[in-house]
């Protein structure tokens, strides 16, 4: 997570520069790390948006707040921007408490979901707005705007009015308008949600590249778990104002801590554990399975892509006998709904050109003990 901007100077300077570099490095780190302590926020008397959020975000991290609508992720972002005040709790950026700092005095910029570009200003004036408000002289301002417009490859549009731009162009202008201010932290509120799928995945890649190149701390809000996994260094999954789990995408996807996180990450194969035996033996709705490192949780997660389908009945350890209920052929893979004694199980099988079991066929499901995860309710 070290900001990449520091990297090129390494080792080329005289002895004292090591010390300078350290100071620089630490100041960059200090400036853009974020600490949230016990944040609470209510709207009206009954709606709880945030219910005690503690979080530490490292400098230079691409951090995603993931959750369904109404989970509090946007409220959290707005509190970071200063557009909303927490009822309780503290907020520190770079070690400095900014809970009571008004938004225009925070070195934090936002890319709004609606972009919120100024329709009465040209693209150039939109891009220059933040710099102008900070009192940067015109010439430097123009140079910076030209530079950022070039950076997002929209240099030839600066004279246009905002209403003459396409959705993707507006999105980029909104991003550039925030980036040009070189904030310590960039907040992005579902910035890609208004775009169609193709443009969206293209901009995901672009955004990621920009973040890695600038080494800036990005906090990204989305309800799309695919997007979150593609982009993030770490993900925080929120539900009803509480952080359910924080971790790198693989952790959150492969080892969800509870049923909410598992379901939100797209898992449906959750089974109740009815009894436990020696050596990780678990009795579940599916049958008897061995888990390598079972936790205390009462649910078992079986990820569809960890399953193997063997033809016919080949009983054994961690094998289940099933009937194919449904098959969705998707070219690169096939999705199965299997029936195991009345309980349904989903499996994804890669298409390696081998036999793909047909509907009604008897098959054996094989799963490795290390691929099974237990989790809480």
């Amino acid at each position: 997570m070290t900001p990449s901007t520091m990297a090129p100077d390494t080792g080329t300077r005289k002895p004292d520069t090591a010390h300078v570099r350290d100071i620089d490095k630490s100041s960059v780190r200090e400036a853009s790390s974020i600490e949230l302590q016990g944040l609470h926020k209510r709207f009206g008397k009954t709606t709880i948006a945030l219910d005690g959020v503690d979080l530490t975000i490292e400098a230079g991290e691409f951090f995603t707040l993931l959750g369904p609508s109404g989970c509090g992720k946007t409220t959290l972002l707005r509190i970071l921007a200063g557009l909303e005040e927490p009822d309780a709790g503290r907020l520190k950026i770079g070690g400095r408490d900014i809970t009571d700092t008004p938004p225009h005095k925070r070195s934090v910029n936002t890319v709004f979901q609606s972009y919120a570009l100024f329709p009465h200003l040209s693209v150039r004036d939109n891009l220059a707005f933040g710099l102008r408000m900070r009192g940067m002289p015109l010439e430097r301002r123009n140079a910076k705007v030209a530079e950022i417009a070039e950076f997002i490859q929209l240099g030839d549009l600066v004279e246009r009015r905002v209403d003459q731009l396409s959705g993707g162009q507006r999105q980029r202008i909104a991003l550039a308008r925030a980036l040009v201010c070189e904030p310590d932290v960039l907040l992005l509120d579902e910035p890609l949600s208004a775009l169609d799928a193709g443009l969206r995945s293209q901009l995901q890649v672009e955004l990621l590249r920009v973040q890695k190149r600038l080494g800036m701390t990005f906090i990204f809000v989305t309800h799309d778990q695919q997007e979150a996994m593609v982009m993030s260094d770490r993900i925080a999954v929120l539900d009803s104002g509480i952080i359910q789990q924080v971790g790198p995408p693989r952790d959150v996807y492969e080892r969800p801590v509870n049923a909410f996180v598992a379901r939100f990450m797209g898992h449906d194969n959750l089974y109740r554990i009815t009894a436990r035996g020696e050596g990780g033996r678990l009795s579940t709705e599916l049958g008897e399975l061995h888990c390598e490192s079972p936790g205390a949780g009462e649910l078992l997660l079986v990820r569809p892509e960890t399953l193997d389908l063997l033809p016919g009945e080949q009983p054994g350890k961690n094998r289940l006998l099933a009937t194919v209920g449904e098959r969705l052929y998707r070219g690169s893979h096939a999705e199965y709904r299997l029936d195991i004694g009345g309980t349904s199980l989903q499996a994804t099988v890669n298409n390696r050109g081998r036999h793909l079991p047909e509907v009604g066929e008897r098959v054996t499901v094989a799963v490795a003990a290390e691929d099974l995860v237990t989790l809480g309710q």
Partner: protein, 307 residues
């Protein structure tokens, strides 16, 4: 290739039907404008350039006598009376329009911040007074501002007016009457402008280091300009030609151009002079509109915002 190229008769028929269509849609409007605007204006213009006959009616030959008199040249040499009336009209228009803007702006903003279900009611409250006859409302102000009323007593005790003078008739009363009368015409277009505004833009401005005051000035105000200019046109032009309010609240020293014109057609009986006054009003209005257009174009970034 279109059908009309292949079959010539189809094309001519289409042309005929198009011109017929044009006739039906445009003709009524054109007729209306010609009969009720062009003809009277031409008549007015004609009268203004005629000589005043006995009983004040216009007579041949043509002359510019009325314009000379309007400019203040009479039998007894030059007098500044008419010039004062013109200046007073301009001044009253300027001051009352400015006050209307200052009062209407926060009202319009406040209404947009209300809950959606309350907004139509608030707007209704703004508009309802103008459903009553203007003369009646102006008489109402006379009662409120007359000597001995609480308002007049208050002004007297503070030393704003001499004892037993009352607040009317006076220029102040005229300004008050104008502001009161024209407020809704500013609130409505401003409300429309405010309602179109995306509140996220205000937050974006603050997010981009604008203090609340600067966020207003750079993100909000420019976007309400079209409404502001539209409201200014709706307020300033009728205010400039106002007759009832200065007539009732102004007294002899509160006369405006509208009263000057009206007097020439009534008591003073000098039709050509009245017509000349009306033309002066028309010209001043056009100059004002033209200036507003220029201002609007500059501030609106080349977009037409006025008319």
């Amino acid at each position: 290739m279109a059908y009309s190229d292949v079959i010539p008769s189809l094309r001519s028929r289409a042309l005929v039907s198009e011109s017929r269509h044009l006739l039906f849609t445009v003709a009524p409007g054109a007729f209306w404008i010609f009969v009720f605007l062009v003809l009277p204006s031409a008549y007015l213009m004609g009268v203004a350039f005629m000589t005043t006959g006995p009983y004040g009616l216009p007579e041949m030959p043509l002359s510019v006598e009325s314009f000379r008199r309007l400019a203040g040249f009479g039998f007894l040499g030059w007098s500044p009376g008419n010039l004062y009336t013109l200046l007073r009209s301009l001044w009253q228009t300027l001051v009352s329009t400015a006050l209307v803007v200052v009062i209407a702006y926060p009202i319009a903003y406040y209404i947009t911040t209300c809950r959606e279900k309350w907004r139509p009611i608030m707007l209704l409250l703004v508009v309802v007074p103008s459903w009553t006859n203007q003369v009646i409302r102006t008489f109402g102000w006379m009662n409120l501002l007359a000597p001995g009323t609480p308002l007049a007593n208050l002004a007297e005790s503070v030393g704003l007016i001499d004892p037993n003078m009352g607040l009317y008739p006076s220029n102040f009363a005229v300004t008050l009457g104008l502001v009161y009368n024209f407020l809704p015409f500013m609130v409505l277009p401003l409300y429309a402008a405010f309602e179109k505004l995306d509140t996220a833009q205000v937050q974006a401005a603050q997010d981009l280091y604008a203090s609340p005051v600067r966020a207003f000035w750079h993100a909000v105000f420019p976007q309400t300009l079209p409404g502001l200019l539209a409201g200014t046109v709706l307020v300033a032009i009728p205010a400039f030609g106002m007759y009832v309010i200065p007539e009732l609240l102004g007294g002899g020293k509160g006369m405006m151009l509208g009263n000057l014109v009206a007097n020439q057609f009534a008591g003073s009986a000098n039709w050509p002079l009245g017509a000349a006054g009306a033309i002066l009003m028309l010209i001043a209005t056009f100059i004002g509109l033209f200036a507003m257009r220029r201002v609007g174009k500059r501030l609106g970034g080349g977009e037409e915002v006025v008319i």
